[in-house]
Symmetry: C2
DNA sequence: TTGTACGCGTTATCAG
DNA sequence: CTGATAACGCGTACAA
């Protein structure tokens, strides 16, 4: 990977730098002792100034402050944490930050945490329980003050055990899932009811023959599926007659499942996809097949991500309130870390964002 | 936000928990001293066992190890860092993790760092220089071992100064930008040349009247624009005659700019968008206007995100190698932190991923 | 092979 | 108002 030359006015140089090998030690970070010596006071006085404690002569305070600024001293948050018994670190565990709804959530959480003086450590813990346990262990080593678990895929015994082993004493907020543990809070969304309302919407649009396509393995997916079944039986369908296609959380899977649907289930008038991403894959299949949306087929996704808005035509999506969930979860977590009380479990209500596909 | 009831079989409870108010102190995290006492050895022996140092009687090693496991002791990484003078923390600064190409990059980086024993602290530093400086300060407080700066928006004097003030002694890798500072590495992509090749492709497809739509303010955008101008003049166009529409990095802006294009520049046969997201907005405008793609209009985006694949038709995109950049940047950073040498500046070469829009 | 003593950078307690 | 001193959890010379 060595390129030498001049490409588009950007000069490429190679400098095999001996990056400050010796010089680095000479100018370490300032400590309160250094400042104290400079100011002719004790370290504790400097500490007091830094933390704005009362009972310091104004003149010394100013003198110290000046030095602090001059040498632009920055306190070592880790050393601070050692004595304060907190790290101001929050662990954020999710399967994969690349899934659009988690990205949005993470953004909101990180912003909030930072505003409250905390730093988020985001861990892509994957979808295998072993990786998840590993992530929990890692966060324990970091002595995070609290932990946010995002996504119902984490709702399994292994993770629950890992948490009760390693994190029985710090607050944990589970977004979109729950553990029956004394220190775990839950923020949930009524995806079940939301999907019921999706069915209602389609029925109302004269699209009563509805298929459900998507993943079925996570608790969240199960809730969605339950909503689907419940609503469909409410409209007189037998559970055995329902068209439910099990797939992966990818656009490719959405595409394939939808092709299968078109081949095998000609009576279907509408589809509910368990995720927008899968729906986006489905849109492609309909587009290729020349199926008119919404006239010949109505579409609803879930998550209300940007995929629905980018699609042509834009598709309706069940907004499962990921950003609301993010701010609630972050708030509850910080509250818990700082000793403020909150309900152990709250639920948010999803909304259908109707667009051109219904 | 209090809900009581039973919704879709999910029982909602309200427990105004007094979350372990008293009990929490009783069972703090184990320290090496606790283990030492239990094992009847000194703390240093325990430390040696933990760090697999040689020169420990096998029997005591086993005894200690057993205790370690029994009480599932986990070393305090922060305390460890205090004496080791490292934190195994890496700061990752980007404008907004929600932009798809940054999300992918972040994922790759986080995975790599973790595999190498580091933890990433991701900061959404926004696009205002003040926020950026704030982020730098924050990372200094955390005493990160290294820092990754992602995105050419950070290439400004304020950030450069902040880095030389607060981070003159630790390695910094700048992905998609550069600072002339001794401790800063750069990983660049030849977006300029890439866009030139995009123009070449369109010309080759008999779509020589090309417009450029997108953001123009970041160094990265400037490089893209330069490539556009260079190639177009190469094909005999005068620079003044070029159609260049300045917009925002959003689908809405892409939509509006494209509408404007359709209204005002009927001779245009192809468009290069500075970002996939903007291109996606543009696709909508073409779709609404009934413009046939690629017959009546050829489209190329930049970033090679999922947006291009989801679009119907899928659009061609310049792959600016964000994930390669991510792994290179992460590798170089860890290398630098651990004292291994690397070129100070490397460049990756973009690739055109051709799809249905050209 | 193991223990003692010290230091990392900070805050808190207590004495002055 | 200010300064010693101890402590946080850990690693490491140095001594035994």
């Amino acid at each position: 990977m060595k390129i030498t030359g001049n490409i588009c006015d950007i000069k490429i140089q190679e400098i095999e730098d001996p990056l400050m090998k010796i010089s680095s030690r000479e100018e370490m970070n300032m400590t309160i002792y250094d400042i104290a010596k400079l100011a002719g006071v004790s370290a504790s006085t400097v500490s007091r100034v830094i933390n704005n404690k009362a009972g310091i002569k104004e003149s010394t305070r100013q003198k110290v402050k000046a030095l602090l600024k001059e040498y632009n001293y920055t306190p070592d948050e880790n050393a601070r944490g050692l004595v304060n018994k907190n790290t101001k670190l929050i662990g954020i565990m999710l399967a994969d930050i690349r899934s659009a709804h988690h990205t949005d959530l993470t953004y909101v959480v990180e912003k909030y945490l930072r505003q409250k003086g905390y730093c988020g450590i985001i861990l892509n813990a994957g979808s295998e329980t072993e990786e998840m346990e590993e992530a929990v262990r890692l966060l324990e080593k970091r002595r995070v003050d609290g932990m946010l678990v995002v996504g119902s895929v984490f709702q399994n015994e292994r993770v629950k055990n890992a948490i009760s082993e390693h994190f029985s004493k710090i607050p944990v907020v589970f977004a979109n899932g729950e553990f029956d543990l004394p220190n775990v809070y839950s923020v949930l969304v009524d995806e079940c009811g939301g999907v019921e309302r999706c069915v209602d919407l389609l029925v109302q649009k004269q699209k009563g023959n509805i298929a459900f396509i998507g993943t079925l393995n996570s608790p969240s997916s199960q809730a969605k599926l339950k909503g689907f079944k419940r609503a469909m039986t409410r409209y007189g369908k037998s559970e055995e007659s329902l068209v439910i296609l099990d797939g992966q959380p990818s656009k490719e899977s959405g595409y394939q499942m939808t092709q299968k649907l078109l081949e095998q289930y000609s009576e279907i008038q509408g589809v509910i996809y368990s995720e927008d991403l899968i729906a986006a894959g489905g849109m492609r299949a309909f587009w290729e097949a020349g199926v008119k949306i919404p006239d010949e087929m109505a579409i609803i996704g879930i998550d209300n991500t940007i995929y629905g808005e980018l699609s042509c035509p834009q598709f309706t999506s069940l907004d499962n309130k990921m950003t609301d969930m993010a701010s609630e979860a972050a708030r509850i977590l910080v509250d818990a870390v700082e000793g403020r009380k909150n309900p152990r479990k709250i639920m948010l209500f999803s909304d259908i964002i109707e667009r051109e596909s219904t």
